[in-house]
């Protein structure tokens, strides 16, 4: 069989979960998952911690033990530099699990002058990517087939790769116990369910088949008849025969475009011009693969060798002109912040400013270009037209000049709206949008509803929200007002939330006319974040003045403010 001769290299770092935590081997560390120890540092092992122990047992065996929960994502991330380093010298390393990699050796061995040289080289590269304290833990094995290579790596000494010569697999495996089939690190290679393998190994042991050599000596048809497909597969592995070839990983495609500016650009406008060309290139390149960019990084290199980088996120797909716009905003922003020199003559840049020597546009997030049409086709057209208009306005006012509102949870009307610059994702900051039915207040008593007996998974109720009509004018900065009683004395709210004299007159602003109050209601106390520094304590009243305007007033810091008006 052809694959039996496919030589493979297997490299792994024992105790990878511990290594990934970033602690040195001299510390007593155990990584646990589901209350069981899955990896322990050498120091912890010396103290008696064994993989598979319960957390409590491990702690009693080694009182100083640091217990860390397993973090697969962290393990994968930590392994990535080693894989990238190996990828530099040999194409297509396959990551079997974090801390393990496999490599087809046919090409690289010939290039580096033999399996041993390649193994030493790979070990060196992996070691170089590890933290200082863990150097020397990587083990490498080379053999016919991945499974044998894996077992060879486990038998190898640190720093001394074990190379099983071609055709020597069966001889190498023969003295090993059949239990080696169950080796935990090699489950991905064996490709059978661990429980089935364990059962097979235990059964073989009871039948008196103790070593891989004994197992391999059994006739294949008999093994298949007695142990089924899993048994047949294990039998071939034990004979050093079948093992799947290494399937290398494909390096992630690099879509970024860049340009060197030589001589360095004197002003931002010329960089913007380059950015526009790059944007076209990037857009075409992505469109050619049926992709659109949803997150873009603008990277500028300066003469001094510095690099400026900023990401831009976009809700929909970024068109070529939108990419160019964002690059322009960013470059102008950097120039204004004196990080680049020259905005059209004005401002020569600060001392740290430099001229741009390199510009790159890196798409950080791409997705397939699927147009999501509305229920009516015209909807998408209207949206496109509106988006173009907003992009033009953004070109005049800057990116934050055009916003759309998102309704969200909050107690007062200012909190219930989040303004999002156009193009950024419309996500509320707080859950529980306001109720917007015009005749909804039937649910609420005049006093704001209390949050009692409410399902946990529903949106939070935001007690203190006013029911009824919502004001159409909300002052971003509250307007100072005076609320007076019938004798002209100021209306106050006591600490128990009781209103002082009945409101009779209202003066809005500093030079406003004194008007009679024709109707009022309240006060509704509102205490927010009393547990934090941003604590606010207010009492609010609704007031209708004689000219027919209604206001939402709040008393805070012994003053009355108009928070909103029902214009």
């Amino acid at each position: 069989m052809a694959t039996s001769r496919a030589r493979a290299l297997f490299a792994f770092c024992p105790d990878w979960p511990v290594l990934a935590t970033g602690r040195p081997p001299s510390e007593e560390v155990a990584v646990v998952q589901a209350n069981r120890v899955v990896a322990a540092s050498p120091a912890a092992r010396v103290a008696g911690v064994v993989v598979g122990m319960r957390r409590r047992e491990a702690q009693s065996a080694c009182p100083g033990l640091a217990v860390v929960a397993r973090a697969p994502a962290l393990e994968a991330r930590a392994w990535e530099p080693a894989v990238a380093a190996v990828e530099e010298v040999a194409p297509g390393p396959e990551v079997l699990a974090p801390g393990q990699l496999a490599l087809g050796t046919r090409g690289p061995s010939r290039y580096f002058g033999g399996d041993a040289a390649l193994a030493a080289r790979v070990a060196g590269l992996v070691e170089a990517a590890l933290p200082e304290a863990w150097r020397g833990c990587c083990r490498v094995g080379v053999a016919d087939g991945l499974f044998t290579a894996g077992l060879a790596a486990r038998s190898a000494r640190p720093g001394g790769p074990l190379v099983v010569p071609g055709g020597g697999s069966a001889g190498f495996l023969a003295p090993m116990p059949v239990g080696a089939l169950c080796t935990e690190d090699l489950q991905a290679v064996v490709g059978a369910r661990p429980a089935e393998l364990a059962e097979l190994v235990s059964l073989l042991g009871r039948l008196g088949v103790r070593t891989m050599g004994d197992f391999a000596a059994l006739p294949a048809p008999v093994v298949l008849a007695r142990f089924g497909a899993t048994g047949a597969r294990a039998h071939r592995l034990a004979a050093g025969l079948a093992s799947r070839p290494v399937t290398g990983r494909e390096p992630p495609p690099d879509w970024s475009v860049d340009a060197e500016l030589s001589p360095p650009a004197e002003n931002v406008q010329s960089v913007v011009f380059v950015a526009r060309v790059l944007a076209e290139q990037l857009h075409d390149r992505l469109a050619g693969s049926g992709l659109v960019c949803t997150r873009l990084a603008v990277v500028a290199g300066t003469e001094q060798g510095g690099t400026l980088r900023r990401s831009w996120r976009h809700d929909g797909a970024l068109s070529a002109s939108a990419i160019a716009e964002r690059a322009r905003w960013q470059l102008e922003g950097w120039a204004l912040a004196n990080q680049l020199s020259g905005v059209e003559g004005e401002g020569t840049g600060g001392p740290g400013a430099g001229r741009v020597t390199r510009l790159a546009l890196v798409p950080e997030e791409v997705r397939p270009d699927g147009h999501q049409l509305g229920l009516w086709g015209a909807d998408a057209g209207a949206r496109d037209r509106a988006a173009r208009a907003m992009a033009r306005v953004q070109a005049v006012l800057g990116p934050a000049g055009v916003v759309t509102g998102v309704l969200q949870g909050g107690r007062d009307y200012l909190d219930q709206v989040r303004l999002v610059p156009w193009g950024e994702p419309r996500e509320p900051l707080r859950p529980g949008g306001p109720v917007t039915g015009p005749s909804e207040p039937a649910t609420g008593a005049p006093r704001p509803a209390r949050a009692t007996g409410r399902a946990k998974d529903g949106p939070p109720p935001w007690p203190g929200r006013l029911p009824g009509l919502a004001p159409c004018v909300v002052h971003p900065v509250p307007v100072p007002v005076q609320l007076l009683g019938s004798q002209g004395e100021p209306v106050t709210v006591s600490s128990r939330g009781l209103l002082g004299p009945v409101p009779a007159y209202l003066v809005v602003g500093h030079r406003g006319r004194r008007q009679a109050v024709t109707a009022w209601a309240g006060p509704w106390p509102l205490e927010e974040r009393w547990w934090a520094h941003q604590a606010r304590r207010r009492a609010r009243v609704q007031v209708v003045a004689e000219d027919g305007r209604a206001y939402l007033l709040a008393r805070e810091h012994q003053e009355w403010w108009a928070e909103a008006s029902y214009d």
Partner: protein, 250 residues
């Protein structure tokens, strides 16, 4: 930056000038947009001769009387609910919760809260891509700017709604609030549950006779007992002219 904005402004002047030059207006948007009218929310539809907002027209809402902002937003709610994109220029204090209550789709409402001195450019850009643009111009708006924007609305086939006490342009239609009342407040009890506005529309030429309608927001005054079985107090404001002729829509 200055150069870029200046260029936009020059382009704008050039195109607006060209569009404004030929006398009278043929609806150029007709080929582009199939429907000539934008829908108006129920209570206000009776005010308009064609029961809808004509594309390309300019509507001025007089801001002098209270309730003008509600009226302007109610005007936008019809097109917005029907899927149109709306924009509001120069209204930093626009209450979006109130707007949503009036029936506007907030997701299709773009805001340029503080356009500064470049508000004509911004409004013109919005008129290109949006069906309705609500403009709150600064007090010192010049007649030339007003004329240009009205011409741009005609050319683009969108509706320019202006919320201002004194718009220096020639509006097709002027809306004002004649009076109103509140529902729900008693002396110290209740809460504002609804309001009623008396709205008057004045057109140009033959339509100069005012037409009137009633706009009820939230709970109306004649809805019977309010919350909790209590009868909500009704505050009638001074100077109301109840049911003054014309097709009172509801």
């Amino acid at each position: 930056m200055n150069g870029y904005a200046g260029r936009v402004a020059r382009d704008l002047v050039a195109t607006v000038g060209a569009a404004g030059a030929p006398g009278g207006w043929a609806p150029p948007g007709r080929a582009l947009v199939p429907e000539r009218l934008l829908p108006v929310a129920g209570q206000l539809a009776g005010l308009f001769a064609e029961h809808g907002l004509r594309r390309g027209s300019t509507v001025v809402v007089d801001r002098a009387a209270p309730g003008a902002m509600s009226l302007a937003l109610a005007l936008l709610s019809g097109p917005s609910a029907a899927g149109s994109w709306c924009a509001a220029v120069g209204a930093p204090d626009l209450g979006l919760v109130g707007a949503a209550q009036l029936g506007l789709d907030i997701a299709r409402l773009a805001l340029a809260p503080s356009p500064g001195p470049r508000w004509p450019v911004v409004a013109a850009a919005f008129l290109e891509g949006f069906d309705v643009v609500l403009l709150v111009p600064p007090g010192d708006a010049r007649p030339a700017d007003a004329r240009r924007l009205e011409a741009r609305a005609r050319q683009a086939g969108s509706v320019l709604a202006v919320l201002s006490p004194a718009w220096p342009g020639v509006a097709d239609v002027r809306l004002s609030v004649d009076g109103g009342s509140w529902t729900g407040l008693e002396d110290g009890a209740g809460y504002l549950a609804g309001r009623e506005l008396q709205v008057a529309l004045t057109g140009r030429g033959a339509a100069s006779r005012p037409r009137r309608a009633r706009l009820v927001v939230g709970q109306g005054p004649d809805r019977g007992p309010g919350v909790g079985g209590r009868r909500p107090g009704l505050v009638v404001l001074g100077g109301t002219s109840p049911r003054a002729g014309g097709p009172g829509g509801d």
